[in-house]
């Protein structure tokens, strides 16, 4: 199929299936047709040429206000240009077809958005898609688009990837530019891709790489393409299972997923993840303070326009003592080094991405090992320590017939995304796929 035919097929799937799933908040039919025609007439080649994709609705799209899941931002002026990542994908020939639902201001793990409705899990529409990039995970899992972009502050790429059963990457902090992406907590925010195959994920990640002086966190590093290393195998890698604290307190499906992946990789060593509860605690403080600071003018003047799911946490975050937040950022300095030290013992760590698979929409608690846990706060327990440390993590789906999927995190040292891609490519060959 040429680009125009692929885009028409995607638009038809979205029209047909998104009424139930509610992944999209905007579909750009005219722009998509125009971009597809440009790709076809240019004769552009490459893995992304003519590939339809969509973005979480916190990415700037020229001519439209950047919603970031909110009602408030709908009143903002339209973006003057596309976000850096969208421009990079356009250069590679990918065709933007729409923007995707999310938790308001990316402050949540379930995409139960009160303004735009919940995004439903394609594997069971009565269940959550995860969040905050829930539209991205669900749109890719449902096959509405083969590729999507999301953002991850404490797990917002990896949680929906886990619950929807797709591949996704949260790169090293500073690897990919966040220019034109509405922030949640800038000191922790990352962006990254979702895909149904490792090769699509790799092609997208390679296209997104590049230094951008407009993102103050973006590192000046040489491009490190991962497509060329996908067939390198894993025989020379030391792979260990991350254990301790919340990594041991898993529902059976999460425990089984880690065991399946470990078996497939011959990973018999165990490595204790240091201080995961303290890392998560620090992310709660930093996220609360930074997001509240960002939204304080609107919290003062129009608190009722915020989603009730986020409003109270944003209001509370404005009241945190500076000492709590500074101490959390000092702890982050220590923690980043503590996590990097683990990679002296292993090249790659694996760990569950979420402690359980998707829960019913509206469910507040879940029981694990006989104890009840709050769904929303617990979903990010296993992801937050690694984004706090800024290390790259690729989520691989573990799907079993008749059951909800769940993801496993492939964690590497900073700037070693290539190792995670090698492991994911190996696992895909072993049968770990979107199903």
């Amino acid at each position: 199929m040429n680009a125009s035919e692929r885009v028409e097929a995607a638009l038809a799937r979205i029209r047909e299936d998104d009424r139930e799933l509610n992944c999209f908040t905007a579909v750009y039919e005219e722009r998509a047709r125009r971009e597809a025609a440009e790709v076809d007439s240019s004769g552009m080649q490459g893995p992304l040429a003519g590939m339809p994709y969509a973005v979480k609705n916190l990415f700037d799209i020229e001519g439209f206000p950047t919603l970031a899941g909110s009602k408030i931002n709908a009143g903002l002026p339209p973006a003057k240009r596309d976000a850096y990542a969208v421009r990079k994908l356009r250069e590679a020939g990918a065709v933007l077809v729409g923007s995707l639902n999310m938790d308001e201001y990316a402050y949540g793990f379930t995409t139960e958005n009160s303004h735009y409705g919940p995004t439903r899990n394609p594997h069971d529409p009565n269940r959550i898609a995860g969040g905050s990039s829930g539209g991205s995970g669900a749109a890719v899992a449902a096959g509405l688009v083969p590729l999507a972009l999301g953002s991850d502050t404490n797990g917002s790429i990896r949680v929906p990837a886990s619950l929807c059963g797709v591949f996704a990457l949260k790169p090293t902090f500073g690897r990919l530019s966040r220019q034109g992406v509405f922030p949640l907590a800038a000191s922790l925010d990352h962006i990254g891709p979702f895909a149904r195959t490792v090769s699509d994920l790799a092609a997208c990640y390679d296209a997104l790489q590049g230094y951008d002086e407009e993102d103050p966190a973006c590192a000046q590093r040489a491009l490190q393409p991962v497509v060329p290393v996908l067939d390198s195998g894993v025989e020379d890698l030391r792979i260990a299972v991350g254990v301790g604290g919340p990594y041991d307190n898993l529902a059976p499906e999460a425990r089984n997923a880690v065991e399946d992946v470990a078996r497939s990789l011959n990973a018999t060593e165990r490595v204790e993840i240091p201080e995961p509860e303290r890392a998560r605690a620090a992310t709660v403080l930093i996220t609360s303070a930074e997001s509240s600071s960002l939204h304080l003018p609107n919290l003062r003047t129009r608190p009722r326009d915020f989603d009730p799911m986020t409003r109270d946490r944003l209001l509370a975050g404005a009241l945190l003592p500076a000492h709590w937040v500074l101490q959390a950022q000092r702890f982050r300095q220590w923690y980043g080094q503590a996590i990097v030290t683990l990679f002296g013992k292993a090249d790659v760590l694996i760990a569950a991405a979420t402690p359980f698979s998707a829960t019913p929409i509206g469910e507040d608690t879940i029981e694990i090992s006989g104890k009840k846990h709050p769904v929303r706060a617990t979903l990010g327990l296993l992801t937050a320590p690694f984004s706090f440390a800024g290390v790259p993590v690729l989520t691989v789906p573990v799907a079993k017939s008749g059951k909800m999927p769940i993801g496993v995190q492939i964690i590497c040292a900073p700037w070693r995304e290539a190792l995670a891609f090698r492991v994911a490519a190996h696992l895909e060959k072993e049968g770990f796929s979107c199903g």
Partner: protein, 59 residues
């Protein structure tokens, strides 16, 4: 943490907490206080600076 102290802290940053939000704000502040206690119990040497993103290479 009482509702009175929450209202006073909010007033200090020119913020008014809607009555309906007070229980939710209180609950999140208590969660943050628990998190802060956990961090505070962890000994850090005085020379540990905050993790920042500013790079002098680019200034």
């Amino acid at each position: 943490m009482t509702e009175t102290s929450i209202k006073a802290a909010a007033a200090a940053v020119d913020l008014s907490i809607p009555a309906k939000s007070l229980p939710g704000v209180k609950a999140h502040l208590e969660r943050c206080a628990t998190a802060a206690k956990l961090i505070e119990e962890f000994p850090l040497p005085p020379e540990t600076e905050i993790a920042g993103t500013l790079s002098h290479e680019r200034l």
